[in-house]
């Protein structure tokens, strides 16, 4: 980073070439959701009933439970990226930024972990 010209004073600040990774990860996880969420919606729509036995038996099968685990990983990751961008636009105070950074790096992981444990519990036949 130089200190002479105005471009020299700002070069190296900003995203410093890391912004592209966030952008690309958002797109890649979007493609994942484009497959996974319609699979979930069509599966739910085609079920004869939505009582416990029917839905549990469906979710316990290998392909649906794999899809559900992937949904837990992919949707929470995609949501985490998108919510971060929203918060970056609206939270300006330094203390708020720290709180938001903490939440965005912990809550989605906790949510996904709870979801994955639930699906594994269904798939392995307990409860």
């Amino acid at each position: 980073m130089g200190n002479g010209t105005s471009i020299g004073r700002v070069r190296g600040l900003g995203s410093s070439h890391h912004g592209a990774h966030h952008w690309l990860a958002s797109r890649l996880s979007a493609v994942g959701n484009l497959v996974l969420i319609p699979f979930l919606m069509v599966s739910l729509a085609l079920m004869p009933t939505h009582d416990f036995a029917t839905v549990h038996a469906w979710a316990a099968k290998p392909i649906p439970s794999t899809a559900l685990v992937l949904i837990m990983i992919n949707t929470f990751y995609h949501a985490r990226l998108g919510v971060q961008v929203m918060l970056e636009d609206y939270v300006h105070e330094e203390s708020g930024k720290v709180a938001v950074w903490l939440l965005v790096n912990t809550l989605p992981l906790a949510g996904a972990a709870y979801g994955i444990i639930s699906v594994i519990r269904i798939a392995l036949g307990s409860a």
Partner: protein, 141 residues
């Protein structure tokens, strides 16, 4: 907020611009995305968590969100539940359509004023239509 205290002019915000389709769907992309993130994923976890916890927890979930029996409180939440589920379906289709629009814009196409406005309106029409068809199929078949 450091910028607000300086004497430099603020960039113009929502109230300054004349509303157009591209502006609307851009805002909707953010609103639906965050709605899906907070409400949608919350409901997804409640659903899978209840399904993993057994028939009693799952029937409670169904009752709160859809059936609404046993008092005025579940009755009200079941109405809200239906509104939220239809809303989430629409939010998904809208977010999906505007997301696909972003893919097109990402490769550098669709920036001409007319094409941009046309595709923006198409995402709105698609989301409304897809939501109606999905729920018609679920409820009427």
């Amino acid at each position: 907020m450091a910028q607000a205290r300086s004497s430099r002019p603020l960039s113009p915000h929502l109230q300054v611009w004349r509303w157009g389709p591209a502006m609307l769907v851009s805002i909707l992309h953010r609103v639906t995305g965050n709605g899906l993130a907070f409400v949608g994923l919350g409901l997804l976890l409640w659903w899978t968590g209840a399904l993993a916890s057994g028939p009693e927890a799952y029937n409670d979930f169904l009752n709160w969100v859809w059936i609404g029996e046993g008092g005025s409180f579940p009755f009200v939440t079941a109405i809200l539940g239906k509104v939220v589920l239809v809303g989430l379906t629409w939010a998904f289709f809208q977010h999906m359509a505007t997301g696909l629009r972003h893919f097109v814009l990402d490769v550098g196409a669709g920036y001409e004023l007319e094409a941009n406005a046309r595709w923006s309106v198409i995402t709105l029409a698609f989301a409304g239509l897809a939501t109606a068809l999905f729920w018609a199929f679920v409820l009427l078949r």
